[in-house]
Subunit: 397 residues, 2 copies
């Protein structure tokens, strides 16, 4: 794992959760330009409301992010806002930085107030153990995640080596009341505020916004990117060569993390990738790709390794996109091969045994060739299993 | 079961399916005024396309509906359209009525052509056994439905006794590739074309459009109402007293049938009713009620008898409606009692044992008091169980 210059990480166990790490800090030695994308849910957790405000006021002076798991600080009213602010204050005090340079994030049970004594102790502990190793932070933000989710990459811009590191958590709205997809991207690139915002928005639209586990949008989702400029490149401006190079690097990180999230979806046994090609427009391509990976009937069919293509065509049909259904060709693909199952909107004869073999792999691609335009989009989801029902039906009680 | 004057019914086994009845006919002795509401899926089955055309041309001269189960006649291209038309022609021939007076409907596997020899034999058989008993028809349109779905009621308008009978099928998009909610309403009321259309639209918006099993909108959904006028009342015009009386009767039938559909949802053990009250507007009320009953996380929580209210608030939040989350009060209610779980968008202490008892009943009401307006809406769904996954993951293969 590459770590960008000037960033430190920590993760500790402050006893919000019984055993596992539950409080983490990312710290930059110098102020960062920052951008964020937040949940579209009308019901926003306190840290989401808090951070949106901070980024409005101080998006080029961010020094740290403090995150807890175990309690989401959502549906917690005024006390929740006070607690979110206090998390930032305490972190700022311990780090010796201004309070408005600290972002806050939470994930866990909805409707419970944060145990602030534990949180404050955790912050003290975490600041003491800050280091170059991002792993403890990645562990501290996990809830029912079964795997740590990190990815890093390097790119040369302007003769300078730039590092991008992303750390994420989420397996959909996995936990009963554990409803969060969080992702924190750090980079030592030097970039303007405007360029960073654009770059993040572009990348999120084709990564985190194209994944589905159970169709439930959380109250706490956030993606934050911090760029501290220590790589020493000339400031990257929108739409320049450097911009697109950094975009590629950040986007690689985001796509890898997004895919890791669906791979770790609750109860999931397979990743489903819907690839819509030759669509009439980008919006339709995205709507259709998302609709396919979000359909319970597609998810259960993939779980059952059943080449049940009618469900895929039906999901495209109710996606909200307008198109000609009589032009659609449909394929299943995996490491075991590729098979055409429909042509011009109608079924074609195929070998059920071969289809079964293709669907028995861990990653299943569904390729929908719309033959009515030039645009394309990919979305990722996981299958729906008895285990998902078990986990989500039985957890809290 | 009351049967409206002048209607005859039949259901036979023509061997599209292995054992159970699979072809049904509704026949009216005199021409009916008819109205229909059809799937919004871009991918429409051949019978849907065919009927939309017929109702445009001849909505006051309908004599019969012919329905098969086992094959949906969807994603079947030109041959599918030829077969839909042939079903109407054969039925018209056997009944001695004009071809444009016959509507067609299908439900079953997507992407397979209808075995027309069997269908035609079935039509011949069915016409021979037409009778006052609607039960064989109700049986013939079932796919994985475990229960027959019929309801009838009577109302006096204009001094005349008017009967409304509805027959439906569906348990969501139950079957892999068996994707249909069908409902056929017959009445002997005399009503203008315009009034019948309005009445059906109004009622469908608060009944079939407010139910969810698995979020998958089928290619074959249709609701058809036939009014033959034999009750002898003066023709009902829009927005009159008679209109509202007939609306009440039709709506009772539609709501009962809609609820029977979710009760029979694949693998379902409970019915969930979301009742949104004091909403800022009707559109928001409907969006929120539907979002709650469609959430996989709400469905699994109800299945697990877990008073996991954060998931409900979150589902309201991502419904697409705009509202103030800090005003929401939330209650669970069943035959075992009623409990408040949240107030002003925050949790309140409640007895977990009492909540468990309330949630252990077969029908669970979720009441969301938004305290920000006067509008209300109800939606119905079912829980999500391991059995749903089993049925939909394993069926076709």
């Amino acid at each position: 794992m590459f770590t960008p210059s000037g960033f430190k990480f920590a993760g500790v166990h402050c006893k919000i959760k019984r055993k596992r790490k539950d409080l983490g800090i990312i710290f930059s030695e110098v102020p960062c330009v920052a951008a964020g994308v937040f949940t579209t849910n009308v019901v926003k957790a306190a840290p989401v409301i808090y951070d949106m405000e901070i980024l409005k006021k101080n998006s080029n002076g961010i020094r740290a992010v403090v995150v807890n798991s175990g309690v989401a600080n959502a549906c917690t009213g005024e006390q929740g806002m006070i607690n979110a602010r206090r998390m930032a204050e305490k972190t700022a005090e311990e780090l010796g930085v201004p309070v408005e340079s600290v972002l806050v994030s939470s994930t866990g049970v909805i409707g419970v107030q944060l145990p602030m004594d534990k949180v404050e102790n955790g912050i003290e502990e975490a600041v003491k153990v800050l280091s170059d190793d991002p792993l403890p932070f990645a562990e501290a933000i996990m809830t029912t995640d079964t795997k740590v989710k990190m990815h890093s990459t390097r790119v040369t811009i302007d003769g300078k080596e730039i590092t991008v590191l992303g750390i994420a958590k989420g397996s959909g709205m996995i936990h009963p009341n554990m409803a969060t997809m969080l992702s924190f991207i750090t980079t030592d690139a030097k970039i303007s505020e405007e360029a960073l915002k654009k770059l993040l928005k572009l990348s999120v639209d084709d990564s985190y916004n194209m994944i589905d586990v159970d169709g439930d949008t959380s109250t706490n989702d956030m993606v934050i990117v911090l760029a501290n400029g220590l790589a020493g490149n000339t400031t990257i401006q929108p739409e320049t060569d450097g911009f697109w190079k950094l975009y590629e690097a950040v986007h690689e990180v985001n796509q890898v993390l997004a895919e890791k999230i669906v791979e770790d979806g609750e109860g999931a046994t397979k990743v489903i990738e819907a690839h819509v090609v030759n669509a009439p427009d980008m919006k339709s391509a995205r709507l259709i790709a998302r609709s396919i990976v979000s359909s319970n009937l597609v998810k259960t069919a993939v779980y059952g390794e059943d080449a049940n293509w009618g469900r895929i065509i039906a999901a495209a049909g109710y996606s909200g996109a307008a198109f000609d259904p009589n032009k659609l060709d449909l394929f299943f693909e995996s490491e075991a091969g590729r098979i055409k199952v429909a042509e011009n909107g109608q079924g074609v004869p195929f070998d059920e045994e071969e289809a079964k073999k293709i669907l028995s792999e861990k990653k299943i691609k569904i390729i929908l060739d719309m033959k009515q335009g030039k645009e394309a989009a990919k979305a990722w989801g996981c299958d729906l299993t008895e285990k998902y029902v078990e986990i989500n039906g039985r957890y809290r009680t």
